[in-house]
């Protein structure tokens, strides 16, 4: 049963969650309205699993390390050899879970609602890479980490899922909700020298 | 051995210091000894000294693969205290602290034991509880220990920040006033000199490469200087304990890890107390030379590399600056590492091995400098008599079989 109640952002104390970033230039940070999030576990060498998941998601499960697949309304991030994070519209998770469970039947898999588990922070702008590099040890050079890639890693001592969306570059930083305020403060601090701004709600 | 004193210094000044004796004899190995102590760190040297002094056994060799004191004895943050939780531990460490109190005079070598107090900070309710528990236990065991409020902490250590608006504010602390620091190298050198004077052979640059046994008994050691016979052998090789045990075909419940420390550039006195914090994990003192001596954490992985990772130091500094924001502009002069032998219960092993007449003293992990005299004293007893002293009996290797561990990790820090 989907519920239509509004979803509170994890950093609502500091800034309201937004649904999109204005495409203006400059370095900008925002929290996105918490999307529907579904954690999927299963064995990718089991064709039944792949078929079932693919049929519901309407796209391939990304089986290559650190890759992302997406359609118009969902994004699937590779988290590990038997784990994926599926992002969908806020509220869309309930139906998605039901359909996944139905399609998977008795295939050994796990479908779990994690919509509340993580906040989705979005950092965009020319200096975004430098900001991240202050706290994240991944090589984010455009030839090493591109739009359409993701990674589970750490930033400023916080475990994150990093997802590059475009070449602006824009990144989604998915962070455990309880760590979101800290991560937000850290990002704001790291952006300061580049004159970064917070997206207006 | 000529006596050290201000008078001998003045006298020697007249002869331009040409007449000083060697501190210890550099001996060539004899064919055999009554006792061979493997490892020329503080513990090994103290063992040899007490074998000679307390048990009259002087046909002893200390065999060191490198230079005396070059192991953890030469690279520790020199904190000395006896404020351990369990009766067994506090008794052993207190024996050691007592020996330290008269050690400069006993060895006629100033080890600069400085009883400037050791303070353990509490940053949360769990720390407070555990601190109280320890203070009370120590007091009942007759060991000095007291609880300090945060205001008392500030009065005792003016440089510290007790602002309650920091991430982990200070809620109080335990203090052991008799704790402090000593000049670590001097402990090794002082024992070496005193042991040598009593007839102990000190053999440096000689690595033990095998432990020869006959019918389950030890008969001597293979070394880079050849075979040396022995009636009894004591292994006191800290980070290398497992390597030596393997030579005698047994395993130990010990893992070797890098532990790091660092010093700042020397500055005028600013910190008079040893300050430790488990919660934010840092410990710091200021040496008599002026540098801040700071302990870092241990790297998670096994290593014999005598060096650690930089991120351990990074973590340390955040913690240090929380406690002492004014140190931010001071600079790290040098960082280094040692190889510590960590036991599952964070307590040492002192006693027999599966091989007859082969004894072991290890597992001191990150905290054995403070135990140096006591450890040597009980280990000498164990080797000389073939039986542990009451003080080290609980620290036998077989506690891992019986399950009678002496867990000094402190409480597993969690709460609902």
């Amino acid at each position: 049963m989907a519920n239509a109640l509004p979803r509170a952002g994890a950093v609502a104390r500091f800034a309201p969650a937004v649904t999109a970033l204005a495409s203006s230039a400059g370095l900008v940070l925002a929290e996105m309205v918490p999307p529907g999030q579904v954690n999927l576990r299963g064995n990718p060498s089991d064709p039944r699993f792949l078929r079932a998941a693919g049929s519901v998601l309407n796209c391939l499960l990304p089986v290559g390390a650190n890759t992302v697949q997406s359609t118009d309304d969902i994004t699937v991030l590779w988290l590990g050899p038997d784990e994926w994070l599926i992002l969908t519209a806020p509220g869309g998770e309930t139906e998605l879970i039901e359909r996944l469970r139905a399609a998977l039947g008795d295939v050994h898999a796990a479908v779990t609602d994690v919509s509340g588990n993580r906040a989705r922070l979005r950092l965009s702008g020319p200096e975004a890479r430098m900001v991240l590099a202050k706290g994240c040890g991944l090589d984010l050079h455009p030839q090493r980490f591109k739009a359409g890639q993701c990674a589970q890693t750490t930033m400023a001592r916080v475990g994150i899922i990093l997802h590059q969306l475009d070449d602006r570059p824009t990144y989604d930083i998915l962070v455990r909700r309880s760590f979101a305020e800290y991560t937000w403060m850290w990002l704001k601090d790291a952006m300061a020298e580049y004159g970064g701004t917070i997206a207006a709600g | 051995m000529s006596t050290y004193s201000v008078f001998s210094l003045i006298k020697n000044a007249f002869s331009n210091h040409q007449e000083w004796d060697r501190a210890w004899r550099d001996a060539a190995p004899k064919a055999s000894y009554d006792v061979i102590v493997i490892g020329g760190g503080g513990h090994g040297l103290a063992t040899a000294y007490y074998l000679a002094k307390e048990h009259g056994i002087t046909n002893v060799a200390v065999i060191e693969k490198g230079w005396l004191g070059g192991g953890n004895t030469g690279r520790n943050t020199t904190i000395i205290r006896s404020n351990y939780l369990w009766d067994e531990s506090s008794a052993l460490y207190e024996k050691s602290l007592k020996l330290y109190e008269g050690l400069s005079q006993e060895l006629n070598y100033n080890i600069m034991f400085s009883q400037r107090g050791v303070m353990n900070l509490a940053h949360n309710l769990h720390d407070v509880r555990e601190g109280m528990r320890r203070v009370n236990a120590l007091r009942l065991n007759g060991i000095d220990s007291e609880w300090m409020t945060k205001e008392q902490v500030k009065e005792f250590v003016p440089a510290i920040n007790i602002d309650q608006n920091v991430r982990y504010p200070i809620m109080g602390a335990t203090l052991q006033r008799r704790g402090g620091t000593a000049r670590h190298d001097a402990v090794a050198w002082g024992y070496a000199r005193a042991a040598s004077a009593r007839g102990v052979d000190i053999i440096q640059n000689c690595e033990v490469t095998g432990i020869r046994r006959l019918g389950g008994r030890v008969v001597g050691v293979e070394t880079t200087k050849g075979f040396i016979g022995a009636k009894k052998v004591g292994i006191v090789t800290a980070g290398h304990s497992s390597v030596l045990a393997a030579m005698a075909d047994f395993r130990l419940p010990v893992e070797s890890h890098p532990l790091q420390a660092l010093v700042s550039e020397p500055v005028k006195p600013i910190l008079d107390t040893v300050v430790m914090s488990n919660a934010v994990h840092v410990y710091v003192s200021q040496s008599d030379k002026g540098e801040l001596v700071i302990g870092a954490g241990i790297d998670a992985f096994h290593s014999y590399g005598q060096r650690g990772s930089f991120h351990m130091i990074e973590h340390q500094m955040g913690a240090l600056l929380e406690l002492f924001p004014m140190f931010s502009r001071l600079r790290m002069l040098r960082q280094w590492g040692g190889i510590v032998d960590v036991c599952p219960d964070a307590s040492p092993i002192i006693g027999k091995t599966p091989v007859e007449n082969l004894f072991i003293n290890c597992g001191w992990g990150t905290g054995g400098f403070k135990a140096t005299p006591g450890s040597g004293w009980v280990f000498a007893h164990t080797i000389a008599t073939g039986q542990p002293h009451a003080l080290n009996a609980p620290f036998a290797l077989d506690r891992f079989t019986s399950g009678n561990l002496i867990d000094e990790h402190g409480a597993a820090a969690v709460a609902h």
Binding site: S45, G137, Q152 | -
Partner: protein
């Protein structure tokens, strides 16, 4: 800061991983059949070699998988990295791995 090549995620900084000690220790199938000595040996005794060491790591801040590493304990050089046989093996050929799993209409590739 070691650089550890996670069999699944690729090379990452050591701080993303947790160390799990000696590898290939197998929990006895029936602990109650062991003597106290044998149990103690399993619980506590370690080889702790100076030199090549087979050890376990888990990619805690990444894919959360355990795997084995052979590393020299003096130079810290990593000699070998290998996942346990039972683990899902890293995908080499992405096309083949997906097979005919998904409807052809959605073969869009990464474009997010």
């Amino acid at each position: 800061m070691l650089l550890i090549n996670c069999p699944w995620c690729g090379p990452r900084d050591e701080t993303e991983f947790s160390y799990g000690g000696e590898a290939h220790r197998v929990r006895p199938a029936d602990p109650s059949a062991l003597t106290d000595e044998q149990w103690a040996d399993f619980l506590f005794m370690r080889t702790n070699p100076k030199g090549a060491h087979k050890e376990r790591w888990v990619h805690s801040h990444g894919c959360r998988r355990w795997f084995n590493v052979e590393r020299h304990t003096v130079t810290h050089q990593i000699l070998n990295v290998y996942p346990p046989a039972s683990a899902p093996q890293p995908v080499q050929d992405i096309e083949a791995a997906n097979g005919d799993a998904a409807p052809a209409s959605s073969q869009k590739g990464a474009r997010s």
